[in-house]
């Protein structure tokens, strides 16, 4: 089936070329970072994780959200999602691949990465995260490929694939839960030390991931003959809306606990993120944009007129995705380091190379996504013609 990725229109090759250019630029920056050390980034002793780990955290969510199409289709036999299940699975594959690349980019000694397996340490959440992510990657490649092969041959998927599909459903929840545990179990980091972090991660993931999937479906409809169908897209909109509302609810709970209890440690980071702390508020504009975009998007999802029209729907999805990306891909990780354990406020500005590497990894992820979608849609188009 791989050959399907090798034939395509000029537009397809143009897009591939753009992605390759970004990947090359990212690789060049990475060589620089590799030779100099992570000091080339904006990270410091106080803010010791930056955009890499933040992107990683965000993308684990996108990966987990694949379950939002897999579950209705396979567990509830919701046929409308039949056409897009493979898109959800392959989106998960691309996202987990990006996650792994971001982790590698963030390691001070990347050549020693295998030490995590050579010296397994069950008390470390990072050890478990590596395991669940890699298994999830395998499950999605495997299930996606087997089902697609069956579709190509015009036969029903083999029975033995079912257990893998069923396992992949709780597994999706596990990857984001374990990723939340990376943060939620650290003493002294009050912003992260909250039991609601895992549910909040899941809620924002199940809003942001399907929003991206809607966008992808709308784009695919423009550039290929494949149409996911109005009903499937509107179902996704329902999922996105509920998840986004639950996410807002969880965020408000955080605000209540922090400000009603009036415990300084619980308020500091929220202050820093949304209002500024001791006159410093590097991320305040970002968080405000995130809030405003989030609210506008939710209103647009709720109003039937804007929800049903494809162009306004696309805008709402972009706004929501961007809002959640800021919240998790910037605020959550970087904010968690402020104030530092010694209650100092250190600003963090990603360096040029750091941004290029980040874009490069995103480009690599979209490259994987494009190739996988090209194959999947190629198979589906074949069926439509015959």
């Amino acid at each position: 089936m791989l050959e399907k990725a090798l034939t395509g229109s000029n537009r397809y090759w143009g897009w591939i070329a753009v992605l390759l250019a970004f990947m090359a630029a990212g690789a060049l920056s990475y060589v620089q970072q590799y030779n100099y050390g992570l000091g080339l980034t904006g990270m410091s002793r106080d803010v010791s994780w930056g955009v890499y780990i933040a992107q990683f955290t965000f993308l684990v969510g996108v990966a987990a959200s694949g379950v939002m199409v897999v579950l209705p289709y396979y567990l509830h036999n919701y046929k409308t999602f039949a056409k897009i299940t493979i898109l959800g699975e392959f989106l998960a594959v691309a996202s987990v691949s990006m996650c792994l690349m971001f982790i590698l980019a963030d390691l001070g000694q990347p050549l020693r990465a295998l030490n995590v397996l050579l010296h397994p340490t069950p008390n470390s959440i990072l050890f478990w995260d590596m395991i669940v992510l890699n298994v999830y990657l395998f499950l999605n490649i495997f299930v996606g490929w087997v089902v697609l092969t069956a579709e190509k041959k015009d036969v029903a998927p083999p029975k033995w694939i079912k257990p893998f599909i069923y396992i992949s459903i709780p597994w999706a929840v596990s990857i984001h839960t374990v990723t939340a545990f990376l943060y939620a179990g650290l003493p002294g980091r009050h912003f992260w030390l909250t039991a609601i972090l895992a549910p909040r991660f899941l809620a924002s993931a199940f809003a942001g991931g399907p929003a991206l999937l809607i966008l992808l479906c709308l784009i695919i409809k423009r550039v290929t003959k494949f149409d996911a169908g109005q009903e499937a897209i509107q179902k996704l909109v329902t999922i996105v809306t509920y998840a986004a509302l639950i996410n807002v609810f969880f965020v408000l709970l955080e605000f209540f606990t922090a400000y009603y209890s009036n415990i300084p440690g619980h308020m500091h980071t929220l202050d820093y993120l949304f209002f500024g702390l001791h006159g410093q508020g590097q991320l305040v504009p970002w968080m405000r944009v995130s809030t405003i975009f989030g609210i506008i998007a939710i209103v647009m999802f709720l109003v039937p007129a804007t929800r049903k029209r494809e162009d306004t729907l696309a805008i709402a999805c972009v706004l929501l995705f961007f809002s959640l990306w800021i919240d998790k891909g910037i605020g959550l990780v970087i904010g968690g380091f402020v104030p530092s354990p010694l209650e100092e406020i250190t600003a963090y500005h990603p360096s040029f190379q750091e941004i290029m590497i980040t874009l490069g990894v995103w480009a690599a992820g979209f490259f994987i996504l494009t190739v996988l979608y090209k194959i999947a849609l190629g198979v589906k188009e074949e069926k439509m013609v015959s």
């Binding site: 100099y36 050390g37 992570l38 000091g39 080339l40 990270m43 410091s44 002793r45 106080d46 010791s48 994780w49 982790i103 963030d106 390691l107 001070g108 000694q109 990347p110 020693r112 990465a113 030490n115 995590v116 050579l118 010296h119 340490t121 008390n123 470390s124 959440i125 990072l126 050890f127 590596m130 990376l182 943060y183 650290l186 003493p187 002294g188 980091r189 440690g265 968690g336 380091f337 530092s340 354990p341 010694l342 209650e343 100092e344 250190t346």
Partner: protein, 272 residues
């Protein structure tokens, strides 16, 4: 002084048995991993320390802030001693900074304490802070490779050759006591005071105070304690030994730990 010396030899002996001594050396030899520098750089391997005799040693430190207040400049001496002995590089910018022991004002060292019109001592003091060698260390819990590990004698040690540089331990340490080598540290080590007996680090690994395991093994006191001389500003020893000087200090004084509410049970105590 005599008593002190004798106690020291005892501690050194015990910690040698506990982690660095015969069993560990044997293991290393058997595995063929022995190398002249590996001892100081990697401490003992965690496996070896688990096999060591259960001596019940728990090393700790008492810092008498009154002495530090009386002798301004003493803390700086300790810092210089530590950073020289351990080849800690010197960067002029806070972004690349590496520090094993440093001075901070009261509010930063003891963040959860509250005062109203606090007394003058708290106003002016600056407190030496270093790794607390927590009895329940979150950094060890977080480390995915056992590059940071706790020895039987209570020292939280590091293996620079195993560290992958993920910095999970830095997020986990609630005291901000760990530093990362953001770039090659070697050009920033003072050549004139370079200590050949302690390994330098490579870029991309984390480091911190190691309670001077390499000196204890030789029967020496930690470098910072030694820099304090007879002043009693820092007392180091086995807190489980009822006859140790540190035990006496703990019994005779009201001491506090940093952030005790987090349950890490630090082994560094302050007399204020």
């Amino acid at each position: 002084m005599d008593i002190k010396r004798r106690q020291f030899l005892k501690i050194a002996g015990l910690s040698t048995i506990a982690g660095l001594g015969a069993p560990a050396a044997f293991n290393l030899l058997l595995k063929g991993e022995s190398s002249p520098v590996s001892f100081a750089s990697s401490g003992s391997s965690p496996e070896a320390s688990q096999e060591a005799a259960p001596t019940g040693v728990r090393l700790g430190m008492v810092i008498d802030q009154n002495v530090f207040d009386a002798y301004r400049g003493l803390a700086q001496k300790c810092i210089t001693a530590c950073h020289t002995v351990h080849n800690v590089p010197k960067f002029d910018n806070p972004k690349d900074e590496i520090k094993w022991i440093f001075e901070v004002p009261y509010e930063k060292a003891f963040t959860a304490k509250s005062h109203y019109h606090k007394n003058e001592q708290l106003h002016d003091s600056s407190f030496p802070v270093l790794c607390n060698h927590c009895d329940n260390p979150p950094c060890v819990r977080a480390c995915p490779t056992k590059a940071t590990f706790k020895r039987k004698d209570g020292i939280v040690a590091m293996d620079y050759h195993r560290c992958i540089g993920c910095r999970f331990c830095m997020a986990a340490c609630p005291y901000g006591m760990r530093s990362f080598n953001w770039r090659d540290p070697r050009p920033f080590i003072d050549k004139t005071t370079y200590n050949k007996e302690f390994p330098t680090r490579m870029r991309g690994v984390v480091e911190k105070c190691n309670f001077c395991v390499e000196r204890l093994a030789k029967g020496l006191q930690p470098a910072c304690v030694e820099a304090c001389g007879n002043s009693g500003a820092m007392v180091f020893g086995d807190m489980n030994d009822p006859h140790s000087e540190i035990r006496k200090k703990l019994a005779e004084n009201f001491t506090i730990q940093r952030k005790p509410s987090l349950g890490t049970t630090p082994s560094v105590f302050y007399i204020i």
